[in-house]
Amino acid sequence: MRAMAVAVLALVLAAVLTLTVGVREGGFSLVWQALSAFDPNDPAHIAIQSVRMPRLIAGLIAGAALGMAGTIMQAITRNPLADPGILGINAGAAFAVVIGSLIAGRADNGLMAALAFPGAAAAAVAVFALGGGLKGDAGPVRLTLAGVALSAMLLSFVSAIILARNEALEVFRFWVTGSLAQAGMRPLGYMAIAAVFGACLAIAIAPRIEALSLGSALARGLGTKPGRIQLGALVAVTALTGAAVGVAGPVAFLGLLVPRLARRAGGHVLRRELIASAILGAAILLFADTIGRIVIPPTEIRVGTMTALIGAPMFIWMARRLRAGASA
């Protein structure tokens, strides 16, 4: 319980920093005024309402969604390296959005929402098929390799498509490395609904996922249907990852980092772990974003780069601890 309280405090602090850091003068009190007594004629208020708030909301959605998606994926694959970024699900959503808008010749929010989810689902199915996950237990190494390869391939397609089209560099960057900048342009409403749906589904099926993580024979003996649990987990991961990519682009490694910390806060009770993952995921993403904004002013380091800077060394460390063929 203490760890959970610390996580909530961290999230509150991260949210406050997201709203206040870099606000020229007035700091916290100005932010408070802009939120409680909005003055449409004050440009500072407008900036907070139209720039900072969307950024905070996008960070909350993407961070919570990626944290939960990572926790579900790690529980169901029994693979501590499972993460929507590493397993190529982020890349699948980004790829579908980019290629879809290329074909349709437009890139509005509705189209993006319609494409991100099937893209994420297709990548999830593909990575399980490639990694041997469809025929019983896929070893973590095989599944991870399949995911890394799929992710690299899809993101290089994304780069190739966008570079060939002479798009603005900023657009290109968003679909390769995630960012919370210009979050006001993203379909926050749709994606919040998708994320909440994914979160509720994940919480609902959590006890069944726990049963499945004991092996499929025992899970069936406990009265669950492994195929249905896997389908439910796939839908939840797709909704969560699609929502995250829709508001922040493909942010890698967050889903790797967060479940490990959440396990400390939630013990081995998956529902508690999921709630902790949502809180910690949002807190870490917002911290990373704020740090990225202040390290080399006036430019900012994109949050996708920040999470990679923290997450990549951790991935290497975790992969080194993993024995070939081990399952946990």
Partner: protein, 262 residues
């Protein structure tokens, strides 16, 4: 109250094969309610296959399995899991999980989609931990336990499932003799205290004769014998089932048959 007979398992005309190979051919067998039955036989004779069919983990080509008056293959999955539990061979626990958290997962069939942890769940888990003697170690991670303790934790998981019918696939494999006896004793305690129907696949013939009411001996060509230990473990049956030349003498302590290979 459930009728005693509702907990009897019955295989009728069971035929199971993997591809071309038929492992079990037209087998009919009774597993009486409230009794302990051990399935014995050489490797590859289909012991585990039979047990898995009794728990609906595999679907037979022909025949059916009934629990009381219900065909288990047409029962609701969760309804079956509230009446019959199975502990498969060599299960793997998630890394770092504690004994209590593992045993709690045995309550899965009793929990609804959004329902919270109930008093009954907590009581069943506490009782299962007590039965296997792990109450004091319930907050310890499984990976820190000895082999015998770990196996008792897995048995506690199916005990917490709180079913009137309990199936176990080689629960004593890899354990030393002391721990084998420990595990079989606690299963028998549950059987005697609550009239639970127990079916177990076992390797050790002498322990089976000591602890079980009924033995089923499968051989390479189907069932050899079924019945009380002294009727099943005979020199002739051992030759047919195992191709083993052995002498059968009364166990000096319990008087049950004891197999001594020649």
């Amino acid at each position: 109250m459930m009728l005693e007979n509702d907990n009897a398992l019955k295989a009728e005309g069971l035929t199971i094969g993997y591809g071309e190979r038929t492992v079990i051919d037209n087998l009919s067998l009774d597993f009486p309610a409230g009794r302990m039955t051990a399935i014995l036989g050489p490797n590859g004779c289909g012991k585990s296959t039979l047990l898995r069919a009794l728990a609906r983990l595999i679907t037979p080509g022909k025949g059916k399995v009934t629990l009381g008056s219900d065909n288990i293959f047409s029962m609701d999955t969760r309804a079956l899991a509230r009446r019959l539990a199975i502990l498969p061979q060599a299960s793997k626990a998630p890394e770092g999980i504690t004994v209590a958290d593992l045993v709690r997962r045995g309550r899965t069939p009793w929990r609804g989609l959004f329902s919270a942890w109930s008093e009954a769940d907590a009581a069943a888990v506490a009782r299962a931990l007590k039965e296997v003697g792990l109450t004091d170690m319930s907050e310890r991670p499984i990976d820190q336990l000895s082999g015998g303790q770990r196996q008792r934790a897995w048995v506690a998981l199916v005990l917490a499932q709180d079913t009137p019918c309990l199936l176990l696939d080689e629960p004593t494999t890899w354990l030393d003799l002391t721990h084998q006896i420990e595990v079989l004793s606690l299963i028998r305690e549950r059987n005697r205290a609550q009239g639970v129907t127990v079916v177990t696949v076992l390797h050790d013939l002498n322990l089976a004769a000591r602890f079980y009411d009924t033995l089923v001996l499968l051989g390479p060509n189907g069932m050899v014998a079924a019945g009380a230990p002294q009727d099943v473990l005979t020199e002739d049956n051992l030759m047919i089932g195992f191709g083993l030349s052995a002498m059968v003498v009364p166990d000096p302590i319990t008087g049950t048959p004891m197999v001594v290979p020649r």
